[in-house]
């Protein structure tokens, strides 16, 4: 027996919260995308010309989308579960006939959906600046969905772990943002000196951006299969942590 209506209620509630603030939900990623295009695409693109044979403006599109999707997934999902814990409204979720997996499906599903929509909006916005070319649309969608889901799972974990708003910001600020910036959003990690290139390969985000960029231009820093394997590893890792929270009731049930 699965409480589908319960999952749908959480999902709809979370999506409704997004809709209420539709302006800021969309405005902020769109504005930053435009700014990135002005700074990187136009200002630097006029000097750099091409990267891996792709015009620089177009080259940064996949990275930009990933940057936004990663950040949005983590912040939406962490906030989505942290907020009811903070205000106390979580009591209702905990006293409802919902399994932990159903709670996760509702919250993570909503956070991931929102990220995917925003990813699509950023892609559309980018289309106004550079001609878009997507070589493998299905792979593109695959990477977009997997990244949104995985990082929403991570966000959910952060939202359960955090016991204050500072901690809620801490991981995105200290880990996610640096990793995305150093993950080859705006450059190819192959351009780095060998030492830094090796270091970069520790960064999981490199594989995501590389796979995603490959789906656009058939150009990646690593092979497609490496990217697919890495995203599978992240997803698995997140699921293991989620399962642990489920077993111990960690921080959700006292």
């Amino acid at each position: 027996m699965i409480n589908y209506r319960g999952i749908r209620s959480i999902y709809a509630f979370e999506m409704g919260r997004t809709l209420r603030t539709i302006g800021q939900s969309i405005a902020s990623p769109v504005i930053s995308t435009v700014l990135y295009f002005i700074v990187f695409g136009s200002a630097m693109g006029s000097r750099i010309q091409t990267m891996d044979g792709v015009p620089y403006g177009a080259f940064i599109v996949p990275g930009l989308i990933m940057l936004t999707v990663l950040g949005q997934s983590v912040s939406n999902a962490s906030f989505g579960i942290y907020f009811p814990r903070f205000t106390g409204t979580i009591y209702e979720i905990l006293s409802a006939p919902l399994s932990f997996i159903e709670i996760v499906l509702g919250y993570v599903g909503a956070a991931a959906s929102k990220s995917i929509i925003i990813g699509a909006i950023v892609l559309t916005t980018a289309g106004f600046f550079v001609p878009l070319h997507i070589a493998h649309p299905l792979w593109m969608i695959f990477f977009l969905i997997m990244t949104s889901v995985t990082f929403s799972l991570m966000g959910f974990i952060i939202g359960i772990w955090a016991d204050g708003f500072e901690k809620l910001q801490l991981i995105p600020l200290l880990i996610i943002t640096p990793l995305t910036f150093l993950g080859g959003s705006f450059y190819s990690v192959k351009m780095l000196p060998p030492f830094w290139y090796q270091i970069s390969l520790i960064n999981p985000v490199v594989y995501l951006i590389s796979g995603f960029r490959w789906s656009f231009y058939e150009q990646g820093d690593v092979s497609l299969m490496t990217s697919v394997t890495m995203i599978a590893v992240f997803t698995a890792l997140s699921l293991v942590i989620i399962a642990h929270i489920f077993k111990t009731g960690y921080r959700l049930r006292k």
Binding site: A12, E92, L94, P97, K254
Partner: protein, 309 residues
């Protein structure tokens, strides 16, 4: 499967919080179907912890809880379906409308939409004209009624009210009592906690007194007041009495006000004949009361007596 007479059966329930504090130290309690049960206890006694354990918000450390025959852990879905909870704290989603938040609660419990039921619910709680209002625009008393509507949205058999009338004015409190009684008429079992003893006295069929994580006593209200209650009779005398006659020494009599007042304290559990015997004795000893006042201790006195024991 379901024992028709027992709504909730709790046995040997303990709860030790992560910091090592034991909030429940072995609770055994049966709540009967259809009754209003009041849980009384001082701050920190463990009332909220007990309710939270039953509702699935707190994980019990040991012991078992059955709700309508379903184990609260193994069969948590069926167990929780039967329960509606109004928590102690007023926690609501400030920006949601009344209608949406109540419908949301119903959805969480997996029930199909039923606008007719929700409409009736909101009307019963005098919230119908506020149905499209954002919750943050409601008064505290209205918010509490929204919480009650949320708890009742999935048509539960058992309703928990954790201090439902804290900070609620007298008028609204009375109207909430009436609503709770009306709920009981529809067959809902109600468990409420309160600090207002008059509330328990007014509402409850049975009373449990909890202190330091233990249930000190569980009795029907009448039995409790009968058993624990002290009764006193004060006789104002026409003629001052020098001393209590030795023949009356086995009665708990106290002479005050210069021999003009005689106070008799007796135990309600003892035979009721006492008073008439005493009056006979008065006659024999030419004691003539001009006035008789009788007192019985309130639940409040009993409560203080229990908790301080």
């Amino acid at each position: 499967m379901t024992q028709p007479q027992t709504a909730i059966a709790i046995s040997s329930l303990t709860k030790t919080y992560a910091n090592g504090f034991q909030a429940l130290a072995g609770i055994d309690l049966d709540i009967k179907r259809g009754e209003i049960f009041a849980l009384l206890g001082p701050n920190g006694a463990g009332k909220t912890t007990l309710i939270s354990a039953i509702c699935g918000i707190v994980q019990p450390t040991t012991g078992s809880i059955k709700v309508c025959g379903y184990d609260s852990v193994a069969d948590y879905r069926q167990a929780r379906m039967a329960i509606g909870l109004v928590p102690q704290e007023l926690t609501t989603d400030a920006f949601e409308s009344v209608w949406n938040t109540v419908s949301f609660s119903r959805g969480l419990f997996g029930k199909p939409r039923n606008p007719v039921y929700i409409e009736q619910l909101l009307k019963n709680l005098s919230l119908w004209d506020k149905k499209d209002e954002q919750i943050r625009r409601l008064s505290g008393g209205m918010k509490r009624r929204v919480m009650i509507a949320k708890a009742l949205s999935h048509e539960p058999e058992i309703l928990f009210l954790d201090e439902p009338t804290a900070g609620v004015d007298v008028e609204l409190r009375k109207s909430m009592w009436a609503q709770v009684r009306a709920l009981q008429q529809t067959g809902v079992t109600v468990i409420l906690t309160t600090h207002y003893i008059e509330e328990a006295e007014e509402m409850a069929d049975r009373i449990g007194v909890i202190n330091k994580g233990r249930l000190i006593v569980t009795e029907s209200k009448d039995t409790l007041m009968h058993k624990m209650g002290k009764r006193q009779m004060a006789f104002t005398l026409r003629d001052a009495l020098q001393a209590i006659p030795p023949a009356l020494s086995h009665y708990a009599l106290v002479l005050t006000e210069g021999g003009r007042k005689l106070t008799y304290t007796y135990d309600a559990t003892q035979n009721g004949n006492d008073v008439s015997d005493l009056l006979e004795q008065f006659k024999t000893h030419h004691i003539r009361p001009t006035e008789i006042d009788s007192y019985r201790s309130s639940l409040e006195d009993i409560f203080i007596q229990l908790v301080e024991a």
